[in-house]
Symmetry: C2
Subunit: 727 residues, 2 copies
Amino acid sequence: MNCLKRNLSAVRYRLAMILSICLTMNQSVMAQSENGTSLLPTLEDLIPGGSSYRFTQSLYGLQWWGDRCIKPETDSLFVVEPEKGKESLLFTRDAVNRALKAAQAPEVGNLEHALFPWPEKTQALFALTGMYAVYDWNAEEARVIRRFDKKAANTDCEPQRMNVAYTIGNNLYVNGRQVTDEPEGVVCGQPVHRNEFGICKGTFWSPKGNFLAFYRMDESMVAQYPLVDITARTGKTDLVRYPMAGMTSHEVTVGIYSPDTEKTVFLDTGDPTDRYFTNIAWAPDEKSLFLIEVNRDQNHARLCRYDVRTGKQTGVLYEETHEKYVEPQQPIRFLPWDESKFVCQSQRDGWNHLYLMDVDRPGEHTRLTRGEWVVQSIVGFDEKRKEIIITASKESPLQTNVYKVRVRDGRLTRLDNGEGVHTPSLSASGTYLTDRWSGPETPCKIGITATANGRQTSELFSAPDPFEGLVMPTVETGTLKAADGKTDLYWRMLKPRDFDPKKKYPVIVYVYGGPHAQMIVANHMYAARGWDLYMANKGYILFTLDNRGSQNRGLEFENCTFRHLGVEECKDQVCGVEFLKSLPYVDSKRIGVHGWSFGGHMTVALMLRYPEVFKAGVAGGPVIDWKYYEVMYGERYMDTPRQNPEGYRQCDLKQAAANLKGHLLIIHDDHDDTCVPQHTLSFIKACVDARTYPDLFIYPGHKHNVMGRDRVHLHEKITRYFEDYLK
Amino acid sequence: MNCLKRNLSAVRYRLAMILSICLTMNQSVMAQSENGTSLLPTLEDLIPGGSSYRFTQSLYGLQWWGDRCIKPETDSLFVVEPEKGKESLLFTRDAVNRALKAAQAPEVGNLEHALFPWPEKTQALFALTGMYAVYDWNAEEARVIRRFDKKAANTDCEPQRMNVAYTIGNNLYVNGRQVTDEPEGVVCGQPVHRNEFGICKGTFWSPKGNFLAFYRMDESMVAQYPLVDITARTGKTDLVRYPMAGMTSHEVTVGIYSPDTEKTVFLDTGDPTDRYFTNIAWAPDEKSLFLIEVNRDQNHARLCRYDVRTGKQTGVLYEETHEKYVEPQQPIRFLPWDESKFVCQSQRDGWNHLYLMDVDRPGEHTRLTRGEWVVQSIVGFDEKRKEIIITASKESPLQTNVYKVRVRDGRLTRLDNGEGVHTPSLSASGTYLTDRWSGPETPCKIGITATANGRQTSELFSAPDPFEGLVMPTVETGTLKAADGKTDLYWRMLKPRDFDPKKKYPVIVYVYGGPHAQMIVANHMYAARGWDLYMANKGYILFTLDNRGSQNRGLEFENCTFRHLGVEECKDQVCGVEFLKSLPYVDSKRIGVHGWSFGGHMTVALMLRYPEVFKAGVAGGPVIDWKYYEVMYGERYMDTPRQNPEGYRQCDLKQAAANLKGHLLIIHDDHDDTCVPQHTLSFIKACVDARTYPDLFIYPGHKHNVMGRDRVHLHEKITRYFEDYLK
């Protein structure tokens, strides 16, 4: 990593990011005490934000200091020798705070946020409010090495020269100097294109820290959506520049700033109208910047090289087109041992794989991986052995395992136990990795693995069962055929602990169903959600199916939904219901459905398209009409309303408002700037016009999901609805 | 009437105006066919806006042409000789339309909007889009006499010289000429002070038509409340200048425009900050204009005279103060036979009565009426006999009857049958009146009465039972003691037609409870509402009580709520519940409550303050926190938040959000500019914080109540809630 990023600004929740909530919620365990003292968990136990939330312990802050592993605790910090696992105390919080105090810096509340960017130094880096401080544990001294404005957001520092970039309001600053001076409506140094195309930040330090590439987004021409803040003395409007499908979108340019000269060169990309500038990557020599440029139709991507000094384009290295859409989400990565070669990820053969390319041979590429599975991430490189460490779904579409790929011949070697979901982190030289993983019956285990041969050199941690002593439902998984009659779809089913196959149970289908997401993965309890566990304990069967259109199953699986988003997905979900109805213990008259965001869309769509199937539903933050959704995500799958009027009409749930028969509660947050409240309110109006009777609830002050303490209220609200109308 | 007003702009619904809905809804009848063919009425039958709404027939457009009565129908128009009731055809719609067509004017769809302002002419006046046309039925000719902009709103013409005043946007126009040229934020020619103090228009023609007095309101300093229009392509904000209690309010001035000179003189009232200019009245000689000026505290009113030519104040004729509040709602009226004398209405002795005053004797007055009843309106004058025709509640607080008051000695003579609720209209000379009335068992009857002796000279109309053949509940009324132990309160109870005293019935209390309103009056079925009838048919007992604080019972009855609005009112409602519980056929475990606006406040307040009493409630457009309500109405009863912090806290329902136990549905309209959505949404937030669980529904596009076709949806929604949680 060539930069340390600490995003202090509020995270923009994206459709797909909702999943992170689900995944967080899944850190629960199946184990329970079978004696009479078992307790039913409450929502406070099971929902993040709950006062007694049972999170799965992990080693927060675990990281590499060169090839040595750093294992922080709140008050003490240890260094672990990877080969033998020997732990030694490096320093205590007391010592750090004494030194910080002497340096007139604020104290730290724990050591889990300490950073170790310098393998050659006995120094830890602390990001504090408005400053960076360094603590030298040999000298027992601290020093403030960079101060900046306390209002700074999107802070991004690089450890070579300790340059700090950040934003105040809509402008970019570096090391206390204002880099841009733009009026309202132009945003610099922040993520653009509404965080699509893998974009999650707006500043990109060059490898040696001499330049900062940054995004500049002119959105002054974009319509503003009003969100009303009812906590003001007189309600006031928070305006969000929100380009809706088919409408005028923002224009993005990329600047390169030099802290030495204090000058900015903007890339000469030509007219930025209706273009996406994605996946910024630096050449190792800092002479070139690489972008993947995508047209508004999103069916043509070009990997372009720009001269850092002049901003001129110096080549197009690779192009990809697709009749539906292309979706580059990963920047290119240069080989550490050969600065002329880089690795590019592409779904060109229908599965995300690695291709080796040469900056001097535009248009040529060498395949590195192949097969009906997807590369999920590049973890890093083993420079000595000339190998790439990756994660991939090769063992099973539900799994994420660690592999190394030999660049010479593409030889693939698995580096982990072949189970579950792994999130590895590589040491500086690539010799070791921390292997943090979870499996259906494993809350969390962490060890250190030698990348030479996949041997686990030491065990660091095994999380205790967070639900020890609580009654937990059982979890089953399996597959069934999709509506196309051939594709296998994975399902997950939760049954009450005291399940009796002679009884008839009501079922709640929890659904997401959209792209960029997978509900059933082989981590702890197969990613069963806290609320799902709660409801199973209450006597419901909870069922989830990853329909076509979801993640990790290849391009064709995902893009069969093109131009009629939600339709195939619903058909598959109904296949799931048919399966449920075939089970003797399922009460087919009491089937409910619940989902949020894309899953909210699915919930409403299923209630309207299959009114005889679903008795009750709860939809959160639903997309109702794709023309009210934003340009980048919406047009990728739906094209524009002008290009695809039939598709937009077919997928506009207002058109089917008259079909509503069952009980449908729609929940929306009044500050939802991802899926604006217009969706739900326009659907309510359509139902009033059609004389149908949905229910509605609004959470004031929340964005695209209800987070924090109120998340417990939300799930109690959802629970009551099903208890009223499904039980 | 010296002016003809046709307000083309959307009516601003006021808290109290909600009642007009209730009253409209009451035009139903108790009669039913007792044979087996009786049908249960549907909401479409009972709710205004319903496709088969059973409205009570009346003679729409009935009016006076001098001392002859005009009785229009859709296609023919008759003149009625008042003494003998003889009807003759005056003209047909065909004849009018032929003439209009010849005059190149648009045709009319009915004759019910024809006007007859000229007793001496054989001419009818038609207000058409962008023009006034006159039809002479002798000549069978039509003529356009005034054209103006088709975008004109608030059109106000006077028949002497046929001057037409109107507004376009925020500016005032007269006869095609622009009178004011104000920027956004300054409104001319429209009602001010949010329609309080009896203000319902913004232009006032002088008696002879030589001058136009008009309101100018500078509200540029008032905070804007954002209402979001979700029907726009990208949701957009409709901003409403809404001064909330304690905050900066608008500033009003009064201009006088002369169409002859095209000049405007503004009254020199001094600094308009925190002052109310109400009840504009012209002197008969057009030399003076009278205003009743009220301070922001609303405890001091002054009747001021201004010189029309100079705008200077020329006298203060009367002052009134009260430790709680004064509330002048009626302009002074000059005696037609003595231009130096006028009649003023005042509650100074605790009941609204008439006082005779002399422009030359400031501070002096002669009482004209007295007693523990209220004058409800001045209908007009009998110039010959020097009598004032009024309506008053003398027979019963539930009734409105017609009287004449002899100015010489205050002798009071009733002119009607002493029953029910009468809405008279006086002929030009005051010799006759049309007496339209309704009684508990009388949907609507209309006759002509001679004011000399109260003799009915002719019967014009008796409405058929609009609910003929439908099953109708029974209606009972009575009194009980208020929470003060001494005041009689009136109640109304509806029982199912098949009521069985041995059964236990659930009860729904329908409540309004605020000032300016009375739910139980002696018109048809004692003003039972359509939805109440519907629910009684479904097996509920519907109960309504006019608590202290409501209208027509005198000042002390109304102002006992001062500085703690809603508290005494709730206590009285609970007295009603105690009475209900004493009835053997009431199921005291199934008591619900429903109300809108002030009644919405009452509903929420009752649910929170008496959580053990009410099992379910539906509140519409509720006031939740008086500090979010507007200055004029709010501060009259509550003073400012700074003056009365304890009262505001006591009446802020958010403070009691944790008390919610029963099922409470709150309904709000997203374009409610009377009681802004901040009330309901802030309450929802308070409940989320307090972990209580109200339900919510929003009607997009509606203002302070759901009107038109959607009103049926609203009442089905309310019905379902009680069916789910109270039955």
